[in-house]
Symmetry: C2
Subunit: 106 residues, 2 copies
């Protein structure tokens, strides 16, 4: 599932996984490492996501762009929670249609 | 909603819209034009989609790569139908969560 705003992917599986990794690892750099993603790419995804939100999803504990600790805000936690709930509700509600669709694929 | 197979997007909104345009316009070139997409890009998307399916979604009425008429197979119709049903079932089942998620965004 992806949420697009004006044709740009505001929220998708990559950003959600990154948020979860930041929550679990406590910094953008450790999260990036755990996902085998460059720090630069992770940082840009976080900037994108924060810019798409009314209130940022993550904040640096030290302020600025230092590679210090980064924590999720309550809005960041809410984004993960809602996204994962939507995925699981949708998967349950559409189970038979998804199965039929997958049967058409290799 | 996107269906990925081995990290490649097998089915997503772009391919479904293209299939609908081919169904409505009767050829890949007319479908591409209606979507302001190059013929080459539309043709590549169709090849991708056909390759991802057990049985092709569209077939050329003239065979080969001629820019002649192209029609959807019953599998192609089924892919559109299932995809649109999944979208609408999921949107209904997750309406309140989707609303909450959108409220967090700008």
């Amino acid at each position: 599932m992806r949420v697009t705003v004006a044709d740009v992917i505001a929220i998708g599986p990559g950003k959600i996984s990154l948020l979860e990794a930041i929550r679990d690892h406590g910094s953008i750099s450790a999260a990036a490492r755990s996902m085998q993603m460059s720090y630069r790419r992770a940082w840009l995804l976080v900037q994108d996501l924060n810019a798409a939100m009314r209130s940022p999803a993550v904040v640096s504990e030290h302020g600025g762009e230092a590679r210090g600790g980064t924590v999720l805000t309550k809005e960041g936690e809410a984004v993960i929670d809602l996204y994962r709930r939507i995925e699981s509700i949708a998967a349950r509600a559409c189970a038979s249609e998804i199965e039929s669709l997958l049967e058409l694929l290799n």
